[in-house]
Subunit: 205 residues, 2 copies
Amino acid sequence: MKAVIRLGQYVEILERLSPDKEYISSQELAELSGVTSSTVRQDFFYFPCLKGKTKKGYKVEELKENIIKILGLEKPKKIIIIGAGKIGTALSQYKDFKKLNIQFLAFFDIKESLIGKKRNNIPVYHLNSLESFIKKNPDVEIATIAVPESSAQQVVDKVIKAGIKAIWNFSPIIIKVPEDVLVEYEFVGTSLYNLIYLMKISREK
Amino acid sequence: MKAVIRLGQYVEILERLSPDKEYISSQELAELSGVTSSTVRQDFFYFPCLKGKTKKGYKVEELKENIIKILGLEKPKKIIIIGAGKIGTALSQYKDFKKLNIQFLAFFDIKESLIGKKRNNIPVYHLNSLESFIKKNPDVEIATIAVPESSAQQVVDKVIKAGIKAIWNFSPIIIKVPEDVLVEYEFVGTSLYNLIYLMKISREK
């Protein structure tokens, strides 16, 4: 599981390298990921197709493609976003997602002034039409929850009732779901807390 | 380093528990973090003050306070945000930050229509006034970069020239900084890629 979390991070780093960078060493990738180079090598060792290292390092494109395949990111993924506020809209604009075949089909909200409009060229529907939308679009697999804390659990219940089995949660609460529903939390603060810790130990040195 | 990253995540989870939850087991914390309970115990073992486990589990408040101290989060932290767009504004509203003494002092932008306004009650200044602002507010320690890819490196250079030594980067590029500057990247996609992988392996089961 931990290795997988890092694989996702490696994809993001590899996506950000300048296009003329052909090779990357485990040392370079480690520095950008905040882990040691032996961790990188260990992560790659776990997946046989990631072992192909040359003297110059790993081939960036090949490495990226292999990690993408391991994660299952090569297939198109259809996602809806509940909550067309700042977080939801910012997410739908995240650059890497387009490259990785991640498609945001619709926003759902309850704010009348937003319904019928588009955000980042994606339509905003009323939350009440969620169930009928999923019936018409059974290939939607993931719901992103980007609503305030007070309505998050209620929204999650609706999403699950509509048949969604995977939830990407940005709302600041621990949500309750049945056993067959997968949930991932996005903790935006984690990297800031890590930075603050690094500042603390660099001062103590 | 990895243990530290998880400590930040544990803080976020503990902050999200309902206020009447007095104890938490390593199993519960593990499930919410997406790691095994032995990883949680191992992480805690590394920091002596986190070892105090009772039969009922860890005392939530005590555990949270101790992790906060390890990370250095108990002291107030002053932060500026470069880029008063959707991501920057969404960040400044993140609920946990207030509780953790994290203060956003100002936005900086170049969009004339934003300058002099407030976003989430935080003033927006022109990027040109960054250096004089830092001179007047030498206790600002961290700059958050929430600008488009095309201007990110330029903005980072300005921030460093103004004397900032810690950068929290949301821009989708790898930035170049001198050796004495700390950088943390926020990879919003990582948790989504992890969810997609979990979906893949749960189908294969």
